[in-house]
């Protein structure tokens, strides 16, 4: 099986972390296509997935250009195995029910919106350009998933029960969004990436505002899951990649 070893400079690694999180989350959303509870949501989830896929493509194309090894966006998406993926763990968890999908989308986009807003002022011109587009899209994602979080949290007994279950599962994965390792710190010092600590107040404000209206409790920050950004994944990512990468694995180099 062909796999590639990407030379992960701090910038390439940072771009892969963002691209992988967008792609993996996009793939999980796309699994709803044809299965959503109503046609409007089928369209909406597919549209959210498409926005994230577009962001991932731009980030991969740029990562490949920075690496300078002649690779393409497709090489990075299709020819790395799970241990080479750098997405946050929350993105790869199985799609779950509609409540789980909505809450994951809300927690991730409430982080992505201030992240892209700050990254639009990055010292790296190409990352800033990608961020300026992604920020506008993320605002729609926060609104859509936020409104559904309220409707389901303050909905029926059943929708509320499902939201509480999803919240219990997802909360321990939120810590990873605000981690900063040596590569991150190098990029923060260079003005390329925002310091995740500076994103926290905006994220907290969005989460608190929506949870208050949804009558959902903000869980206490206990032990947090970690590892995705350095390639230590749950068993679920391998299964997802087996589906996503199947064609390239079965027919290496095929195009259409």
């Amino acid at each position: 099986m062909t796999t590639i070893a990407v030379a992960e400079t701090p910038l390439v690694l940072s771009l892969l972390r963002l691209a992988d999180t967008a792609l993996v989350h996009s793939h999980r959303l796309s699994e709803w296509c044809g299965h959503a509870p109503m046609i409007e949501e089928d369209l909406a989830l597919a549209n959210l997935a498409l926005d994230l896929l577009g962001q991932a493509r731009a980030l991969y194309a740029y990562a490949a250009e920075v690496e300078g090894a002649g690779r393409t966006e497709d090489d990075l998406a299709y020819l790395r195995d799970a241990p080479q993926y750098r997405n946050v763990l929350m993105a790869e968890l199985p799609r779950g029910d509609f409540a789980f999908t909505i809450l994951r989308g809300f927690l991730l986009s409430a982080w992505a919106h201030p992240f892209w807003q700050a990254a639009a002022r990055s010292a790296d011109a190409q990352l800033a350009a990608i961020a300026a587009k992604a920020e506008k899209e993320a605002a729609y994602h926060v609104r859509h998933t936020g409104e559904w979080t309220i409707r389901l949290g303050d909905g029926t007994e059943e929708s509320r029960r499902r939201m509480l279950t999803a919240l219990e599962t997802l909360w321990p994965y939120t810590g990873e969004l605000f981690e900063a390792d040596a590569a991150d710190r190098a990029m923060i010092a260079a003005g390329v990436l925002p310091d995740p600590a500076t994103l926290r107040p905006a994220w907290e404000a969005t989460v608190t505002r929506v949870f208050d209206e949804a009558l959902l409790p903000r869980p206490a920050d206990g032990w947090m899951q970690t590892g995705g950004r350095s390639g230590r994944h749950t068993e679920h990512l391998g299964h997802m990649l087996a589906v996503m990468q199947h064609l390239q694995r079965a027919y290496p180099g095929c195009t259409w």
Binding site: A44, N47, R143
Partner: protein, 178 residues
């Protein structure tokens, strides 16, 4: 991969750069959005620049509306074909991201074309609402009533929302403000 010789316009046109550029610009501007064929990419603000490269090849910049817009590749191919058909040689089509596309770049002609197609044009980006702020009113493209409501923030394409008119009862697409 086309060679420079194949890319350059025939001598009749390339001898007159101003005429070549005007012909290439008109050809590129005639390409329509494959998902909303009533509006040209020029009126949509997707066509950003048409110029002559140092090697005499026409260079064209296009920008995506949304990051994941699936029509971009189609638009690039159609621009290439239209410019070549106009006798301007095969252009180089570049995808540029900055500055980020905004609905404010849709021209008055473009807004009229959207309305004609039953799609409510976007409110100005200056009215872009705060994350959870109230939305700007959107008039019904059929009867003009401002009494419309949001059905879904996401319609048949990423750039459109689904709304319903309370006055005439018709559902309609509204171009989202970006």
């Amino acid at each position: 991969m086309a060679t420079i010789a194949e890319r350059t316009a025939p001598a009749t046109l390339s001898a007159d750069p101003a005429r070549l550029l005007a012909a290439a610009r008109a050809a590129a501007a005639s390409v329509v959005d494959p998902e909303i064929p009533t509006i040209s990419i020029a009126d949509l603000g997707v066509l950003r620049d048409v110029r002559l490269g140092a090697d005499g090849v026409v260079e064209i910049d296009i920008t995506p509306t949304y990051s994941g817009c699936p029509a971009m590749r189609m638009i690039a191919l159609e621009v290439e074909a239209a410019v070549e058909r106009a006798g301007c040689g095969r252009p180089r089509v570049n995808l540029v991201l900055a500055p980020a596309w905004t609905t404010d770049w849709i021209t008055p002609a473009g807004r009229a074309a959207l309305l004609e197609a039953g799609i409510a044009p976007p409110p100005p980006a200056a009215s872009r609402r705060a994350l959870f702020g109230a939305e700007a009113p959107v008039a019904c493209p059929h009867c003009g009533s401002a009494e419309t409501e949001l059905i879904s923030e996401f319609g048949s394409t990423a750039c459109k929302a689904l709304r319903r008119c309370r006055a005439c009862g018709e559902p309609f697409h509204a171009f989202k403000c970006l």
